[in-house]
């Protein structure tokens, strides 16, 4: 199982801030596409991703137990 955390407008669009998924062997890019479709989310070209609190690229493979964060452009400061 993997956990996906959603923030900012992604959480609003999905209507939830956390999603659990059974499948593994997905890349970050594949995960984004899957969620865009299933939850009708805005295109995630500008959305960064982190696995276990480290930024990763779209090519990174997700492993079982990973916590994925989908991070829209940040606007702190």
């Amino acid at each position: 199982m993997i956990t996906v955390l959603l923030f900012s407008y992604l959480a609003e669009e999905a209507g939830r801030d956390q999603i659990q998924l059974q499948e593994g062997e997905l890349s970050i890019g594949e995960l984004k596409e899957k969620l865009e479709m299933e939850y009708n989310l805005s295109p995630m070209d500008q959305v960064m991703a982190a696995i276990n609190q480290e930024y990763v690229t779209n090519e990174e493979k997700i492993k079982r137990g990973d916590i994925i964060a989908l991070i829209p452009p940040v606007s702190g400061g």
């Binding site: 955390l5 923030f7 982190a50 609190q53 940040v74 702190g76």
Partner: protein
């Protein structure tokens, strides 16, 4: 997960407290940056801002920025704090304090830190459209 030096704050940030963390006898210069909530931006009025963070990662990224600063400007000391939750006009969203033997490094490191915060620290603001009540 918070450390005194890299902190997500649920309550108003006390600037003196953040400054106090970097004061030391070797320092001849301390620079402080405070990001405050601005009422008007390009003709649009803000009532307040709500800041949301992916907290553990936000702290981790602030620590990373601290490490980057140490690497580029080895003689500096840095502390930073970022608010989450509702922040009113004029109130402080972020504070960065840097001390250094000389002032040039203190300015540079401070400016670098706020630029990096705006790039990699997972914090989002949402405009308050109401009356802030």
């Amino acid at each position: 997960m918070n450390t005194p030096f890299f902190r997500i704050a649920e309550e108003p940030i006390q600037v003196e407290e953040v400054i106090g963390l970097v004061r030391r006898r070797e320092a001849g210069a301390v620079t402080v940056f405070m990001g405050t909530v601005r009422e008007w931006t390009e003709g649009v009025r803000t009532s307040y801002l709500d800041y949301d963070a992916y907290q553990p990662m936000a702290v981790k990224m602030m620590e990373r920025i601290g490490a980057e600063v140490q690497e580029h400007w080895p003689h500096t000391s840095i502390a930073m704090a970022h608010r989450v939750g509702r922040v009113a006009i004029s109130d402080i969203a972020v504070v960065i304090a840097v001390s250094s033997p000389h002032r040039k490094e203190a300015y540079e490191a401070n400016q670098y830190a706020i630029d990096r915060i705006k790039e990699i620290v997972p914090i989002w603001k949402e405009e308050g459209k109401g009356d802030g009540a």
